[in-house]
Symmetry: C2
Subunit: 715 residues, 2 copies
Amino acid sequence: MTSKLFSFLAPKTIAVVGASKDPSKRGYQAIARLLNDDFDGLIYPVNPREPEILGLRAYAHVSALPGDVDLAFICTPASSLPAVLADCARKHARGAIVLAAGFSEAGEPGRALEARAMAIARKHGIRVIGPNTNGVLNMHRRMNLVGLSDVERGSIGVVSQSGNVMLALAAEAKRKGAVGFSTYIGVGNQADVEFHEYLLHLSEDPDTAVPVFYVEGFKAGRAFLDAAAKVTPSKPVVVYKSGRTESGKRSASSHTGSLAAGFNLTRDLLRQSGVIVVSESDKILSVAEALARMPLPRGSRVGVLADSGGHGTIMADALEDAGMSLAELSAGTVAELRSILPSAASILNPIDVAGATDNDPGVFASCARALLADENVSILVIAGMFGGYAARFTQSFLDVEVETSRAISALARTYDKPVLVQSVYMPLKPAPLMELLKGTIPVFIWAETAATCVAELVRLAQARARLAKGPRRILLQQQSSAAAIIACAQDEGREALLEPESRELLVAYGIDVPSHYLMQSSEDADAAVFSLAAPSFAMKIVSPDVLHKSEAGGVELRVRGVDGVRKGYEAIVGRVRSDYSEARIEGVMVAPMAKPGVEVIIGVIRDPVFGPVIMFGIGGVFVEILKDVSFRAIPVNRDDVVEMIDQIEGNAILNGARGMPPVDREALIDLLLAVSDVIQLHQEIRELDLNPVILHDRGYTIVDSRIIVGKDGCD
Amino acid sequence: MTSKLFSFLAPKTIAVVGASKDPSKRGYQAIARLLNDDFDGLIYPVNPREPEILGLRAYAHVSALPGDVDLAFICTPASSLPAVLADCARKHARGAIVLAAGFSEAGEPGRALEARAMAIARKHGIRVIGPNTNGVLNMHRRMNLVGLSDVERGSIGVVSQSGNVMLALAAEAKRKGAVGFSTYIGVGNQADVEFHEYLLHLSEDPDTAVPVFYVEGFKAGRAFLDAAAKVTPSKPVVVYKSGRTESGKRSASSHTGSLAAGFNLTRDLLRQSGVIVVSESDKILSVAEALARMPLPRGSRVGVLADSGGHGTIMADALEDAGMSLAELSAGTVAELRSILPSAASILNPIDVAGATDNDPGVFASCARALLADENVSILVIAGMFGGYAARFTQSFLDVEVETSRAISALARTYDKPVLVQSVYMPLKPAPLMELLKGTIPVFIWAETAATCVAELVRLAQARARLAKGPRRILLQQQSSAAAIIACAQDEGREALLEPESRELLVAYGIDVPSHYLMQSSEDADAAVFSLAAPSFAMKIVSPDVLHKSEAGGVELRVRGVDGVRKGYEAIVGRVRSDYSEARIEGVMVAPMAKPGVEVIIGVIRDPVFGPVIMFGIGGVFVEILKDVSFRAIPVNRDDVVEMIDQIEGNAILNGARGMPPVDREALIDLLLAVSDVIQLHQEIRELDLNPVILHDRGYTIVDSRIIVGKDGCD
């Protein structure tokens, strides 16, 4: 391991503080394990009452050690931590792993203790893992400071908020065989080192092919997103986010705020950064294994080769459930498969060999070659009973099958396409399947697992293509007129911009806002109608004291002609004055009624964990009933925006459902990008709601805009 | 086995036709296996060229046997089948299992051969399993006619269209331990016995607790639904329906027809009959096992007891994903758990014991008692590492853990509530978990599997409550006026009723249809407006030759006043005449414009597999974009209808979203029930579309109705 970030995780010297002669204590177990595993470095037991532990000379204090230490493994009680860390500093410790509980997770006194200890650590440049961690494991350095036994060595690095989840993953890897771990880090309270730093650390660890995170909650979510966007283009990253069902309570002062809660937001933002988000605990290791083994596909169409109609169909079902589509085979492939397989075989994808492999399992390789050579096939899945022919029929098949495995592995390399195998016989670990696992080909018992892996491989390939385009350069320049609008509201102690102000701000950035007229008296009706020249109008009160305009009677719709506008003015002002006698009325805004089209919602919040986030949804039931909205961290690039539109379940409505023409998608994309730019340019904008925006076949109409600013340059 | 239906599946005498001395032949393997397994009955090898096979006297023909046979196991080539069956009849065979392929699955000559053979079988009362089956297995009679080895004996009965799927299930059961099979039947081509008959057979089989079906396609789907509705109240039935992704092509002449395709329809109808539909192949056996072991819950709220915060949270996530909710614990339970557990424990469901079990695994039982005694907890799930304490800590825990298992089993019996355990240690099959499996408690490795089982237990309990209410009695009486309308259309060779006819038919059954006026000339405008007395009207052409009224210019909406109606008539008739000069015009129907409300769609089709099916959907995007519709087989009872409404994703809109009052749900329920009645009373009605129906806060308006009848008393 050559990680520059945390070299103390590959230490040459470890001080075990709280070393013990009692085999039930972690301070004994750690030393015993290091000795047993032939740890390649110096171990210093630290215990003020013992001269010697497990044959090693023990020291009363860290400061009594004969030399410096890289890493302190601290097993002493919570209250001792400040003193121990100060003592470690004298020997230039660069890192500490702190097991004790009783810190910030245990109420106020613990919080104070944690803060005190961390201040000392920071002062001396000691990075702390934990407290309240169950430890750290580095398989490639034979450093097992966690007490897990029976962990297979491999290339998956686990960072977890639960030690028992690692225990489950280790047990699963043991059962599967041929998959294992490079490292495990229990993050504990994350009082110092946090998830994003572990991610950067593992990104530099050559022993780790796939970092896997079990996350109950992010503290610095934005930092994780930024780190992930750097790492995922070259190394796959897997996250299982638990606690999805707790209804994450966040700011609900805006419509966007009320929708921007919970797992969907986290999932969208992680995926934006190229992270593979796994939602089922039984698929974490399989997905990590698939990502570790295989090349990424160059397309998304799957070929399925089965030696059982049943398993082929089940695989097709599972792939469809995972959002994948089967490849349509080229004529040449169909012809070649026909020449290989008997007439009873089904050559339509999924391919059913119809018993052709029963006499010669080598037929799998011939069929695999034909399918992999097909340009329409980006991924090959072999489903059914491969690997079990010797067990099913005759032991003499074993050599043929192993040969076939080698041939399939070679084909996967030649064509540089992912090949996955699902076999009923995997639990028996027969030689042909073990042979596949030596190469790049993962083997799964269940169709559903294989299908999830296929879907995530495709997703990562797509994310990399998107990330490769880099963050989009802000096209807009900060406009002094916009800054002045915000400053004016702040000066007046207002958080919500008046709607004419919001519109002016958007217009300053070239966002298309329909012209409006601000009436100051009913006498302005003539001028309003003349200047706007529309068949009918929407009228809205403009007042810093009226937040909910409709409820206050401050809105009139479909108003026609000068007379209508005059009466509309009087009606609105009359109602508002009677209900809110103190309200400052800036006037009544008149704008042309929008043409019909598809209503959408665009919103921005500043999430406490992830920072500025843009939301998109289609109005009506999609947002109101189905909560069908998508999120992206700002800044977004064009691909992000296209994906966030396509992700909405009802996005087909944008293509012209219900007798309407297709909407102007390009204009929508430009609008979302411009909003992202505006938020980047104005850190003071806390929330923004464009709700609704009506999309037309050409352009859009922003019907209502609402911008909330911090009282003083917030965020 | 005492099944009256197919006693030949527990035969006393078996003739193996095509018996062989070649160990690679099924005619050898079957006899060898029967002998090896100590089959308790007579085995007659039948082979014209061998005097003796495997030590048994062989006979040249079945008719040469010394006595009658119960079952003929036929391994001879396809072409021999008619003669063999005729020969079997002479010895009064009651059943035959036919292995050979080359029948209806193999094109026209095979189809003819199959028909010929089946005619002979029917004539002689021989029931046939297959052809093209891989055989039958009866574990409790030691009758293995399928060649699968290593099958665990148990209470799950599998009926499958794929032999290899059974192979996968058998392998899974072997791995799990403590779960096994009563029987396996490969259905082959189902030329004679079909799925519903196997279901009735297994319902009578005392050795089978849970019949499991792997179905690629139903032939007599309605018969299966009827059988299932009889069986599921007393025996759980599981179906995995494969080939879900093929877009089942059905009649698409109606809007309903175009939506009524594929897996969703099948799934809805199976569930209506109480069938448990499993969608993931890796959950089939687990769900069957859970159903076989446990009592059904009396409610749907789950208590989760975990010895790891991570696993508790993962279980909560998985339960939520499966549509389940966690129980809110009563104050007494919280107090009791507080007295048992340390202060660090989380007493909010999911319960995290926070290490309390590390020193005494018996704490699991005390907590389980508290949770099971809570009325708010209908189901208990124990998650994490139970069963692994001896392995994790000290072997001396083993006895405590086994005792705890016994205590938990006893508690489950005492409180008669389902208890499920998820344990990381299950693959090691430790004694405490094996002890649980001796009782009624299933153990799973994965949270997702346990959560699916919980959801399906709840679903079955709910289905039983619904089915217990019995089929609803038809409340309506056949109306001669309705029959006359249909007969009139049939006499005139029309399939589509004219809209006034459709309305009259519905009115005859007390269905609320808005009054209308049929104008014969523009002179009728006065009378129409006078008689309908509404502020505005919808006008539609009535012509047997105009099917698509809007496209033909045959519709005018929001028409006002006598003058408007007169002009509307002229405009409609003018447009239709100019485009369809030959069209017979019966007049123009005028009806009041409907009040606003929530648009829904009610449709009926006669599905070729499942018979009459009613569909419900909410108009707009739910149907058009999301295809969010629900199906039920007719007849429906009130609970069916309530469930089919609640099943729609957007059903919240009925409760008064977007500022509207809640709709009149009772009126909607009555309408759906009345439609079901009408379809039962009139077998001639092939399709019915009420689209849209607008639901109001009181009552509804059927805006458009379309009824298609068979040319002559079809169906």
